[in-house]
Symmetry: C2
Subunit: 115 residues, 2 copies
């Protein structure tokens, strides 16, 4: 995925692939809700998911916080389209910077499904 | 490494391999000092290191906390011998539960050195 930003997500910070930091990525993943978000995205065949479609038992504000932590760590990418915000896993960036990390954390099965 | 405890480390909690939890392991690794401890242990040819031999710039109390967090997450094993406490990386247990995690977090080079 390219690091360029479309006009619609200019307001949202996304670190470049080269800016991904081990500690920040680990911190972001070290939370049950955030790990579940990553797990859901990893299994999502279409590649991206509207933020309201995760079916997680958490308040909108709480989820908003978790999506931000994941985005700012470089784990997910978000983009706005109309009134929806779509989120995808930065799988290629993570694999390039931390080869094997997603597979190790999610289990191999979670990564066999690709869009 | 076996999960059995010698009399000298009975007072120290070490989770069994099967008890290692993704979130706890990630939380324990998501700290610069603790990641450095793991990095040093991964590069240690002898397999284990006395706690005073890490050469880290942190107070004894602070280091003690970090060693405990790593031990309780199942990342390191500690044993007392005389007045020294020796620490080793639970490499086999981590590799069995989270294949590729150490390599992904430390970088491949850190794992090519084996005792």
């Amino acid at each position: 995925m390219s690091a360029s930003h479309t006009p619609s997500d200019q307001a949202m910070f996304h670190p470049l692939r080269s800016e991904l930091e081990t500690i920040e990525v680990l911190r972001a993943l070290a939370d049950p809700t955030r790990l579940e978000i990553v797990r859901i995205l990893a299994a999502e065949r279409s590649g991206e998911l509207a933020c309201g479609a995760f079916g997680l038992d958490a308040s909108k504000q709480n989820l908003s916080h978790h999506f931000r932590v994941l985005r700012e760590a470089g784990i997910i990418r978000s983009r706005d389209e109309g009134r929806n915000r779509y989120t995808s896993l930065r799988r290629a960036d993570l694999e390039a910077r931390f080869p094997g990390l997603l597979g190790a954390v999610l289990g191999k099965k979670a990564l066999t499904r690709k869009p």
